[in-house]
Structures are given as C-alpha cells and as structure tokens.
C-alpha cells in the first residue's frame, strides 16, 4: 500500500518534470527560431535596404503589407462581425445554422493556393479588376473571415446573460441591445480576433501571388487615388513582404535582402501577437474591475 502511494507520487513528480521539459523545449525552439530569423536577418542587412526604393529595399513592401492587410480588414471585419452576431443572436438551431458553421470551418481550412486561384478568377477575370492591392485584399479577407466570425460569436456568447436580459428588461429592442450593450462589452475580444487575423494576413504569399502582383514602384510625392505609382491607390499592383521573400528565394538572388524581409515580417507578426495579448489582458482586467 505504502509503496503504491510512493510509486504514484514518484510518477507524479516525473510527469511534472516531463511537462516542464516540453514547455521548456518549445520555449527554446521559439527563441532559437525567432533568434535565427530575426538576428540573422538584421545582421546581414545593409543600411540601404531600409530605404523606399524600387528594388533592393524593404520600405515600400512594409507599407504595402500593412496597407493591404488594413484594406482586407475593412472588408472582412464588417461581414465577419455581422455573421458572428447572426450566429450568436439570431440563428435558430437547425440545418441552416449547422451548415453555416460547416462553411466557416471549411473556409478556415482551405489551402491558400486554392483561395488565390479562386480570387484570380472572381476578382480579375469575372469582375475585371487588374492585378491590384484591392484584389489581393479581397482574397485575403476570404481567409480572415472565418476567424473574425468565430471570435465575434464566441465573444458575444461569452458575455454574462444579465447583459442581454437587463437591457431587454429596460425596454430596449434586440438591435439596440446588441448595438449599445453587447457589442461595446465584447469589443476588446473582437479586436483581439481582428489583430490575429491581421497577423495571418501579413504572412500570406500564395494567395497574393495570383491577385496582387509584385509592384514596388512607389513615388512618395504622388498622392492621387488613380496614379499607378501613388502609394494610396488601391488599384495598383503591390508587392508585400511575403511575396518579396518568395520572389527573392525562388530566384536565389540577394539572399541577404530575403533574410531581412523575413526578419521584419517576423517582427511584425510578433508585435501583432504580443499586442493582441497585451490588449486583451488589459481589457479583461478593466472589465473584471467593472463587474465588481
């Protein structure tokens, strides 16, 4: 009896060590991975690579990446949030709702090359856009749509029931309740989802290959909406960091520049992941304070 307890305790301690070991392993793996990419990339960089020239630098690509993701969020956030509200508040359990959920999950597991070719056919061939930032952003929004929808739904469902009943009890209509009570209360969680979606958009290459093109020819004194060299024009081709990495690596040229873009892309992704986490923790603290 005694020995059995002893053994159980020993196994328990052993397993605790194993779990700590796994955690440590992944910590080291991430540090090693990020360290290799970021430090390696920054060390090999030359000062002129940080400029905004047509080739040989990353400035325009950083701008394009952020701009493209921003535009894609302008499309996917409204639709995603609406669909999330529908699922959380309006959908009745049944075939349609189940089907909608299946659709969302299917969208989130599509290979990105398929989304890219689909985007090419719909936005370029059928609608008639040229290879452009807009076409790429629309295709990316297909990818980020499921994430935003699920986050919104989970956020609304995660609110205490009292929010809904309290508001309805005061005579508010359903929509007033959603718009003035529920949405503000879960705004922070939705934002976290949006930021995560943005993080994924940054790294996407296969989708943009067929829809956005590799334009990096920007004139920073040109701010007309229609000129192909204007930074703010959404109908111009735009090379993002991930496409730049892809282009450079597949051609085996200027590896130092490819490494630098990888490093900068990693830093962007890291900044967004950490930002999303800090944000959500900050807000949940604030909410916890309110609820007391």
């Amino acid at each position: 009896m005694d020995s059995r307890i002893k053994r159980a305790k020993m196994i328990d301690q052993f397993m605790t060590i194993v779990f700590y070991g796994i955690a440590l392993f992944f910590f080291l793996l991430l540090v090693g991975f990020a360290g290799k990419v970021i430090i390696g990339g920054l060390l090999g960089a030359k000062p002129e690579m940080f400029g905004f020239t047509r080739s040989g630098s990353i400035g325009n690509q950083v701008f394009n990446t952020i701009y493209l993701v921003f535009i894609s969020l302008l499309v996917s956030v409204p639709i995603g949030v609406l669909a999330g509200i529908y699922l959380a508040m309006y959908a009745k359990p049944g075939l349609v709702t189940r089907f909608l959920r299946t659709c969302i999950e299917t969208l989130s597991s599509l290979p990105s090359i398929v989304v890219g070719l689909f985007g090419y056919l719909i936005f370029l061939v059928v609608i008639g856009l040229s290879k452009s930032l807009l076409a790429g952003a629309l295709s990316i929004s297909i990818l980020s749509l499921p994430l935003i929808t699920t986050t919104t739904e989970d956020a609304i469902k995660g609110l205490p029931e009292g929010y809904y009943h309290g508001s309805m009890g005061l005579g508010a209509t359903k929509w007033q309740t959603i718009f003035h009570v529920l949405l503000p209360a879960c705004l922070s969680r939705i934002m976290t989802g949006v930021i995560l979606a943005a993080g994924r958009g940054f790294g996407e290459a296969a989708v943009l290959l067929y829809t956005t093109g590799s334009g990096s020819d920007l004139r920073w004194n040109n701010f007309s909406f229609t000129s192909p060299t204007s930074p703010i024009n959404v109908l111009r081709p735009a090379e993002t960091l991930s496409i730049q990495i892809w282009n450079l690596q597949t051609n085996g040229q200027d590896r130092a520049l490819a490494n630098l873009s990888s490093a900068v892309l990693m830093i962007l992704v890291l900044a967004f992941s950490i930002g999303a986490n800090v944000w959500s923790r900050h807000i949940s603290k604030k909410q916890a304070g309110l609820e007391k």
């Binding site: 090419y120 040229s130 290879k131 290959l209 590799s214 081709p237 690596q249």
Partner: protein, 291 residues
C-alpha cells in the same frame, strides 16, 4: 413583405457597388502626348523575372511616368493571363502554342527578348567536369546511378530536377537529353531554380540544371561541359553549345506605345551589355537561330 423589400434593396445596392469598382480599373489609360506614360504589367516565367526587373527599373528611371510591375507565377500562368488580358506582357520559356489552345494563341504577338542557356550543375565533391551526351542521358534517365561509372567518386547520383510542366525542364530534356524522358520516380523535383541551386549545393552527389543567370557570381556548384563544350554565352552564340532557348514576351495584339518602347529598350544595344552581365544572351548575337 417589408422584410423582403429591404433585403432586395440591399442586394441591389451591393451589386451596384461591385459594378462601380470594376469601372474605375480602366481610368488611367488616357495618356499625355509629350512623354511616355502608362502602366505595364508582366507575369509568367520566373527565370525571366530578374532580367525584366532590372530592365523595368532602368526604363522607368528614364520614363518616370511609366509604371512597370513584374510577376513570377510560371510560364503557363503568364500566357494565360496575357490571353485573359489581365496583364500586358506574358513572359514564357516556351512558345505560346505549347501552353494555349489555337484560339487563345492566335492573337498573341511574340517578342523573343533574349536567349537563356541551361547548364548542368553538380555538387562540388563530385569533381566531374565533363560528360558526354550519352553519359548525361544515362544519368538523367536513371540508367547510371553511381558517379564511379562516369569517372567520379564511388557515390550515389542524386537527380535534382524541375516539375514536368517547367519550361527549363522541357528545354533541357529536348536539347541535352535528346528528348529522353527523365526518371521522375528517382529524382527530386524542386519548384524553382533558386531552391534547386540550394539543393545541389547542399547534397553530396547531386546533379541538376539551371539557367546561366543563376550562376553569375556563384562558386558553390560546378558546371559540367557537354561533349567538351563549356556552357557559356560565347559557345551559345557560336552554336557549339546546344542547350538554350529563346525567352518570349507575348503581347495580346500589337503593343501600345509604352509597351513597345519598353520591349525595344530590352532588346536594344544599350541594355544588351547589362543583359550579358546578368547571364542572359542577346538574341541578335545568335549566329544560328535554330538548333
């Protein structure tokens, strides 16, 4: 009823919006007369992209109102997109007739902008500098599997090739292997020449092939002469080295003013020097234009 009407209205509205955005795409076509202006988009062959990139940069320094973008994506995509009119120029390693059906290909105008020479490359430790054509064929068809049979060390041969639809592969197969099919089930295919080069550099006993443009300033791999003829631009011009092909840039119909100027620039004498320094051959210097 009310519900239905509202729904119909919104659907109509969003359809109208989509319609609007498609119209704005063609806004920038009005051109000024005094200087060249316009938008040129090119897509296709990844082997051609580095060259067109450099040409585009120099050309737009001289003509600041012309915006040029160059994409990779593969020869098939390039040809398809120029036939779809989603790009102005379709870059291809192969003639349009091989990747499009006759209806689509008949409107395309061919511009043979340069010559690309393919060279067999081997890992440094192999030490074989010269192979006969027959030896090369035996290696790539999987008949010879050890380097000692062709004068190298006792080491397995690792074939590193390109996917079956690749233009580089088609050229190499046609002119270096006399049309013999490569052994697909024994070779490592790589999606692009950059990764292929990396694989041959890193793998003992590896043999592959790339365009000369990838080998400028590269000492990590050895090139192999075929029947004693070194794969160089000079030997290509003189007709001694056979494994080369024209690179094509297709336009859909006759090119507009800006595009024509750009094509003339690439094929012009001034850019020719730059072209050779990048490892591409100048079309006009070819003594024989067929194999």
């Amino acid at each position: 009823m009310n519900k239905f009407l509202k729904g119909a209205m919104i659907v109509g509205l969003s359809a109208a919006m989509v319609g609007c955005s498609s119209n704005t795409a063609s806004d920038d076509s009005d051109s000024k007369n005094e200087s060249l202006s316009g938008t040129i988009t090119a897509a296709g062959s990844s082997a051609l992209k580095p060259l067109v990139d450099v040409a585009a940069e120099q050309f737009s320094n001289e003509n600041p109102d012309v915006s040029i973008t160059v994409d990779a994506g593969g020869s098939g995509e390039g040809l398809k997109q120029v036939a779809d009119k989603t790009v102005t120029l379709g870059n291809s390693d192969v003639a349009a007739e091989e990747k499009l059906d006759k209806d689509q290909a008949k409107d395309l105008v061919d511009h043979q902008v340069c010559v690309v020479t393919m060279a067999p490359i081997v890992n440094k430790d192999v030490g074989v500098k010269d192979l006969t054509k027959q030896q090369l064929i035996d290696i790539f068809t999987g008949k010879t599997t050890n380097w000692k049979d062709v004068g190298g060390p006792d080491e397995d041969i690792v074939l590193v090739t390109r996917p079956t639809s690749s233009g580089t592969r088609a050229t190499f197969q046609k002119y270096a292997l006399d049309g013999n099919e490569e052994a697909s089930n024994a070779s490592m295919e790589t999606d692009d020449s950059g990764v292929l080069l990396q694989n041959v550099t890193d793998t003992r006993g590896a043999i592959g092939y790339v365009a000369l443009s990838y080998l400028v300033d590269n000492d990590d791999v050895d090139t192999v002469a075929i029947d004693g003829v070194e794969p160089t631009l000079e030997n290509t011009y003189s007709g001694d080295y056979k494994v080369w092909t024209f690179e094509h840039m297709y336009t859909n119909g006759e090119p507009d003013k800006a595009t024509k100027a750009f094509l003339d620039y690439i094929m012009g004498e001034k850019f020719g020097k730059k072209m050779e320094s990048l490892g591409y051959g100048v079309s006009s210097k070819m003594e024989k234009t067929d194999h």
